[in-house]
């Protein structure tokens, strides 16, 4: 380098051409503009709110709600506070989202595999399902399920009975439910012991495998002892630890079993059917993204079909699947807010009721949006941690 030293050149650059100065100035201008804009909005908001007697405080959360909620996982009466009503809504949102995510994943994987099936009929049926679901609005699907299916079901006396003691009626969906008996605790001890043995056997097997010694027997011993101890415990517990509680028809409703209200059932089915179509495409894309050469190379190395799937194809497919799967889970949780259209008391619906009753829409909207944001961010955080674990490290 025979030019001037960098620091002397820097000194000669006028400030309006100095990149550092320009960068700082540009950011200052952007921040100032953003601050002015937000300030303008907030000023308008405060004037408008003062003019209409609205407040920003959250004090109303301690007031008596005075409205009933059709279903709640925790005890709730109309004499409870708005804060408790909101909590009920949050729990309802979380429960429908959690159930939806589990079921949609199962159905979605089935759909994705069916789309890749060599069986022409299976393949076509899955494709038609995916196209119909993906090209119609979820809200329309929900109102069809609720207003045109669940509300049109026969009354309890003529309930439709599906195989496996499942009843469909105007009162919703009734399913057999597992019920824990007092001996469940004792049985749990057996299960824990069995699990301990299985894990120990697994660890020993893994050690031996890394040392290059044969492990085939040990790999089998773990699961076999686990099943044996669990079954033995079941028999020794005097009383079956888990019994199946069947729904029984009464005059106006069913008792026993697990009952899902028409609103919950319609929302859950709608969300599951909708999201499963998208998850199916994600799964199909993930499996197709693993090149054929990977299969062939795995086979050439002497791995069996199952080993190739488990050790070679699946980890690579997972790497492609996890990020879009996360956004589908988030979509499902956010889409559960459509519950308001069919009257399921989720967080958004309760928020709207609260806003109407208290006449304080601004803090209620902030509370609802903030909670959704926290749910979304927490889910993506968890899935990002999982995603980091399944990523194949390439150096």
């Amino acid at each position: 380098m025979n030019g001037p030293a960098p620091n002397t050149r820097q000194a000669r650059v006028p400030p309006w051409r100095n990149e550092h100065v320009l960068r700082v100035a540009a950011q200052a201008v952007v921040l100032l503009a953003a601050a002015l804009f937000v300030g303008f909005l907030v000023r308008n908001l405060t004037t408008a709110m003062a003019g209409r007697g609205l407040s920003l405080g959250f004090g109303f959360l301690d007031l008596t709600a005075g409205f009933d909620i059709a279903e709640s996982p925790i005890p709730y009466r109309s004499t409870d506070t708005y804060g408790q009503a909101f909590l009920v809504g949050l729990l309802n949102t979380l429960s429908v989202s959690a159930a939806g995510i589990v079921l949609a994943t199962i159905l979605g994987v089935l759909v994705g595999v069916a789309r890749l099936s060599t069986n022409w009929l299976v393949n076509r049926v899955a494709s038609v399902y995916v196209e119909i679901i993906r090209n119609t609005p979820l809200l329309v699907q929900l109102v069809i399920l609720y207003f045109a299916v669940f509300l049109q079901l026969p009354p309890v006396a003529d309930a439709v009975e599906l195989p496996g003691a499942i009843f469909l009626s105007q009162r919703g969906l009734f399913l057999p439910a597992p019920e824990l008996t007092p001996s469940f605790g004792r049985w749990l001890v057996f299960v824990a012991v069995g699990l301990g043995v299985a894990v120990a056997a697994g660890i020993v097997a893994a050690r031996r495998a890394s040392a290059g010694r044969p492990t085939r027997r040990l790999g089998m011993i773990g699961p076999v002892t686990f099943v044996a101890i669990a079954v033995g415990g079941w028999l020794l517990a005097f009383q079956a630890p888990i019994v199946i509680d069947l729904p029984a028809r009464q005059r106006f409703n069913f008792v026993g079993g697990m009952g899902l209200s028409p609103e919950f059932a319609a929302l859950l089915f709608g969300l599951v059917l909708y999201t499963a179509a998208f998850i199916g495409e994600v799964v199909r894309g993930g499996i197709q993204a693993v090149r054929r050469g990977q299969w062939e190379a795995a086979r050439a190395l002497g791995l069996s079909e199952r080993q190739a799937l488990r050790l070679i194809v699946f980890p690579q497919a997972l790497r492609v699947i996890v990020p879009p799967l996360t956004s589908q889970y988030l979509n499902l949780a956010k889409n559960s807010s459509l519950a308001i259209a069919i009257g399921y008391p989720d967080m958004f619906k309760i928020g709207v009721t609260m806003s109407n009753q208290t006449g304080q829409p601004v803090p209620v909207i902030l509370l609802v949006m903030g909670t959704y944001l926290v749910i979304s961010l927490a889910t993506s955080l968890l899935m990002n941690i999982y995603n980091r674990r399944v990523q194949v490290l390439e150096s």
Binding site: R23, A26, Q27, A28, V30, L31, A34, L41, N44, L45, T47, A48, M49, G51, L54, T118, N119, W120, L121, V122, V125, E131, I132, R134, N135, T136, P137, L138, L139, V140, Q141, V143, I144, F147, A148, L151, Q152, L330, K334, N335, S337, L338, I340, A341, F348, V352, S355, P361, V362, I365, V368, M369, Y372, L373, S376, L377
Partner: protein, 397 residues
């Protein structure tokens, strides 16, 4: 190896062999085929029995006008026809000159109009509407032919599109007391409102989304943080809450003297919402540009703005066209949510039709019809987007 490339041998498969390979290759495939075949047959029979027998389609045909243009004044309906004619002609011209996916899209515009012509013919609106739709379909076809023969220069077509979008909005909205009196947005409803909301949403959110995407990749931390915060904030909450906020809080955010009506509020909410998703799509396109492109541009002496304007954005935006068509489809479906804040788009109109005493109990008919309309539009577009993807070579490894 010979140098001549041999075509793969042509295998002719008889129906029996086809069945054996595709349905009964193994014992479990055979069981699966039989089970699913039986289930499918049952579902189709049930549905056909309902659709051809029990269903009361007169509820739909009687209210066809409501479904299509809602409560738009009947004597002003020519404005919508004019709009449709302009769009048909332009779609034909673009399809003719561009070919590929655009042509598929233009053809499906024509097909949709033929479908509507048929629907109107069986409903009570009168044959005039049918004829008008047929004429529109013919217009698409004329446009296609003219486009293929290059009778109209490409630049004219582009200008036509750019002019027609705001022009058609003004035509629908109307101006004061002129020959096209303004039509109150309370009367905007049905499929018309659905299409307006989706189109305005995507058109307005596009520039905003591009700015956000560039901001998120900016070298200036303040700009990057602001853009990222906006995008993640919007993507973290459901659209319903944003529409609700737009409905209730937008009037509070604006200066007291400024009043905006419900449709404009919904459009604002949709635009703010979809901008974040456009931004993420565009960011995907930006990331796909090799760094060498930017370095080469810098080496040629282009500054940051010129690099983005002439090197990065043209390539990135072309790469994200299919993704944005997908976004438009989901936006179109998402416009149904404005029923929750009380606007009567297609689904909302369906609900008000169901409130008529003579439509009692026809939920399935009305909602299936609404779903079918959505399906036709978004299926056509998703097919076009798929073809676009293949022709642009996006997503090829």
């Amino acid at each position: 190896m010979t140098s001549a490339t041999l075509q793969p041998p042509h295998v002719r498969v008889g129906p029996i062999a086809w069945l054996r390979v595709n349905l009964f290759s193994t014992w479990y495939n055979a069981i699966l085929s039989l089970l699913i075949g039986a289930l499918l047959a049952w579902v189709i029979l049930q549905f056909a029995g309902w659709a051809l027998g029990a269903a009361r389609w007169d509820v739909i045909t009687r209210n066809m006008r409501l479904f299509l243009i809602g409560q738009f004044p009947a004597d002003q309906a020519w404005r919508i026809w004019l709009n449709l004619a302009v769009i048909s002609g332009l779609a034909g011209l673009s399809g003719g000159s561009a070919g590929g996916a655009v042509r598929t899209l233009a053809t499906s515009v024509a097909a949709a109009q033929l479908l509507f012509a048929g629907l109107i013919a069986v409903s009570g609106i009168g044959l005039l509407g049918s004829v008008a739709y047929l004429a529109n379909a013919a217009l698409v076809w004329i446009g296609l032919v003219a486009g293929m023969r290059r009778l109209v220069p490409q630049r004219m077509v582009t200008i036509g599109w750019l002019v027609s979008l705001p022009a058609s909005f003004i035509l629908v909205a109307g101006v004061g007391d002129t020959a096209i009196p303004s039509v109150s947005t309370n009367l905007w409803s049905g499929l018309l409102l659905t299409l307006l909301l989706a189109t305005v949403g995507i058109v307005l959110s596009f520039p905003f989304g591009v700015v956000l995407a560039l901001g998120r990749r900016s070298a200036l931390p303040a700009v990057r943080w602001l853009s990222t915060a906006y995008i993640e904030l919007i993507r973290g909450v459901p659209l319903v809450t944003i529409l609700f906020m737009a409905d209730i809080m937008l009037p509070l955010f604006l200066p007291g003297e400024l009043r905006i009506d419900r449709v404009a509020r919904a459009m604002g909410g949709i635009t703010l919402f979809s901008a974040a998703y456009v931004a993420e799509n565009v960011r995907g396109g930006l990331q796909a540009i090799p760094t060498g492109q930017v370095e080469a541009a810098h080496a040629l002496g282009l500054n940051g703005f010129l690099t983005n304007r002439f090197i990065v954005l043209p390539q990135a935006l072309r790469a994200v066209i299919p993704a944005n068509v997908g976004l438009f489809i989901s936006l179109l479906k998402d416009t149904t949510l404005v029923t929750i804040v009380g606007l009567l788009e297609l689904l909302g109109i369906g609900r008000s039709v169901l409130a008529q005493s003579e439509s009692l109990g026809a939920q399935m008919e009305v909602y299936v019809f609404v779903a079918a309309l959505f399906f036709v539009v978004s299926f056509a577009m998703s097919q076009a987007s798929y073809r676009l993807e293949t022709s642009l070579g996006v997503g090829k490894r």
